[in-house]
């Protein structure tokens, strides 16, 4: 199949178009801006809507309104901008409006830096804003997945009536790789709940205010029921050389590609090491971790942050197996330093 060379951010944007996305509302921020720029070039020529909002708050609320019409809509930003969007994301989650929110992530806290990081893991996987809610969070590890996950994200969003986030480190947005461009999506969902004018039906209401305590609890139970279903059906991970592994390294996104190389090198050094790459950060693929924990003696979480996903790994193993951590922020760990870490652990713990 013929491949084309594309930048991660542009592949993601093109994937959204392939999925039938009709509008993009956003605010510029490095390193996500190419997504907005791509849409600004494309949408006017295809009867779609690109609108640069006055703020991240306005952008996410335009997404709220756009999604409420029943069309596929999206926004993209990065760390500080995603923080500003949290008010709207909470409303969108409770209003059950399907949409795509992209975090081309950089390091925080505060303004942080513009180097790639995974330090928004907690924010992404714990809901992020106020109230009990979750987002489906997909973590691509290459440019092909930037496109493929954008397509998948819209399908998941519509299927479950929920906002979906793609979280990709800034590097993935900026780097170029040859990819296969997918066919346009043809399967769409009916949205009888949309607020698009009540001609021929009773008016629809999209609302997140529930003053009756009983009804508020009922709404929360409804959401949790949906999240349980998503958890049962949508966990996704890639397992690499885990069958006989004494040590299992867990890493997601771009980090997983770097870890994979270190794992290969460590195998050459006689360490039985494997890797699990969570593809859905929420729901967290604890099933893959639990399975590996039946034979593994130790886990190592490698993240581009100060240790966030490690909490989910620890929850999954339930204290049965030690979980170590290696992480950096501001710089991406290279294969050599991860290999060193693996060999050091193997030596210290007698794993070879």
């Amino acid at each position: 199949m013929q491949k084309v060379l594309m930048k991660g951010n542009e592949a993601l944007a093109e994937g959204a178009l392939i999925a039938g996305c009709k509008a993009f509302f956003g605010y510029p921020i490095t390193p996500s801006s190419e997504i907005a720029e791509y849409m600004a070039r494309k949408f006017p020529k295809m009867n779609g809507v690109f609108l640069q909002a006055e703020s991240e708050l306005a952008a996410i609320n335009m997404v709220y309104g756009g999604a409420a019409t029943g069309h596929r809509v999206m926004t993209a930003s990065s760390g500080p901008g995603i923080s500003l969007k949290q008010e709207g994301i909470s409303f969108i989650a409770e209003a059950e409006l399907p949409c795509l929110i992209v975090n081309i992530s950089r390091g925080g806290p505060g303004l942080g830096g513009i180097q790639p990081a995974q330090s928004d893991y907690f924010q992404a996987t714990r809901g992020g804003g106020h109230g009990d809610y979750r987002l489906i969070v997909l973590a691509p590890s290459g440019v092909q997945e930037m496109m493929d996950f954008a397509i998948e994200a819209f399908a998941l969003a519509d299927q479950y009536r929920t906002p979906v986030m793609i979280m990709a480190e800034g590097t993935l947005g900026q780097m170029m790789e040859p990819i296969v461009v997918r066919e346009p999506v043809t399967k769409f969902y009916d949205k009888p709940w949309a607020t698009n004018g009540c001609q021929g039906r009773e008016p629809n209401i999209i609302n997140t205010l529930h003053l009756s305590p009983e009804y508020l609890e009922e709404r929360n139970r409804h959401l949790q029921h949906k999240y349980d279903e998503i958890s049962r059906r949508e966990k996704k991970a890639e397992s690499y050389l885990t069958e006989d592994a004494d040590l299992v390294v867990v890493a997601f996104g771009l980090m997983a590609r770097i870890v994979k190389r270190a794992v290969m090198e460590a195998r050459k050094n006689g360490v039985k090491v494997g890797m699990i790459r969570p593809i859905t950060l929420w729901p967290f693929p604890d099933d893959a971790i639990i399975k590996a924990a039946q034979t593994a003696k130790r886990f190592l979480s490698v993240e581009i942050n100060m240790g966030q996903m490690i909490e989910d790994i620890r929850l999954a193993v339930g204290g049965r197996i030690p979980v170590d951590f290696y992480g950096r922020i501001g710089v991406i760990p290279n294969p050599e330093e991860i290999l060193r870490e693996i060999l050091m652990l193997a030596e210290r713990e007698g794993l070879r």
């Binding site: 309104g65 004018g197 008016p203």
Partner: protein
């Protein structure tokens, strides 16, 4: 028997929750009558604010959304841009529109969003219990300006109609009041005109309506109407501030 007055089709058969003497009920009815008379109910999509009118989705008999505080114009933008043939209106109070939502309203106006904003200005935060609003008058006592609003400390009340009329994107900006029947009728006319201008696609439209809050002003309903006339109208003059006739 001849029917001389009835509930507009654009209002649901629900009892208003508003306090005795509050003018939200009048304004709801005016909006609904205009939607009826222009046959817009089935094309209309409304957005409620956070504030006393937060439950307006229980009253307007058309598609409705509830917004976060101040964000209604952004939500309206998202809807109108994707459904340009529909009629989109927001219903907002002064805290919602002129304080926390100042950014959203100004930029919706600057972009010339083809929406209609019903802006209810009662110079106070009603739902949260009578705190100072950006439109609270100098000297006015509220629970967060217990010694009266001072220009040296809290600054000056926001004149939204004047402010937004400066923007090229604004096609119709008007300030009215509902303190007596004559002005109620003028308000209806203004709302209708705003909706009609939205239909022509000329740009952003807003009717600022001076309204009462007897409960939080600590006045009886009649006294509140008098207070509005004597105190609010001198600072917030009535009239059309911007009328764009054509493209």
């Amino acid at each position: 028997m001849k029917v001389v007055a009835k509930r507009p089709a654009s209002l649901k058969d629900n009892k208003f929750h508003y306090c005795p003497g509050c003018t939200h009920g009048i304004i709801h009815r005016l909006v609904a009558e205009c939607l009826d008379e222009l046959s817009l109910r089935e094309k209309a999509i409304g957005i409620c604010p956070v504030g006393c009118a937060v439950l307006a989705y229980d009253y307007f008999n058309c598609d409705m959304l509830e917004a976060a505080h101040g964000r209604a114009p952004a939500i309206a933008t998202g809807i109108k841009r994707l459904l340009p043939d529909k009629i989109v209106f927001t219903y907002q109070g002064d805290g919602d529109l002129a304080s926390i939502g100042m950014g959203e309203i100004v930029h919706a106006s600057l972009r010339g969003e083809k929406i209609t904003v019903i802006f209810v200005n009662n110079a106070i935060y009603g739902m949260t219990g009578g705190q100072m609003a950006p439109t609270t008058l100098l000297g006015q006592v509220t629970t967060t300006s217990p010694y009266g609003r001072k220009k040296e400390w809290e600054g000056y009340p926001a004149k939204m109609a004047e402010l937004l009329s400066q923007n090229e994107g604004s096609a119709y900006i008007c300030r009215t009041s509902v303190h007596n029947p004559a002005n109620v009728m003028k308000t209806k006319k203004a709302i209708k005109k705003a909706l009609q201008i939205q239909q022509t696609g000329l740009g952003f439209t807003m009717v600022e309506i001076l309204s009462t809050c007897p409960t939080n002003w600590g006045l009886g309903p009649i006294e509140a109407l008098d207070w509005l006339e004597k105190n609010m109208i001198p600072y917030y003059p009535l009239g059309e501030f911007k009328v764009k006739e054509a493209f």
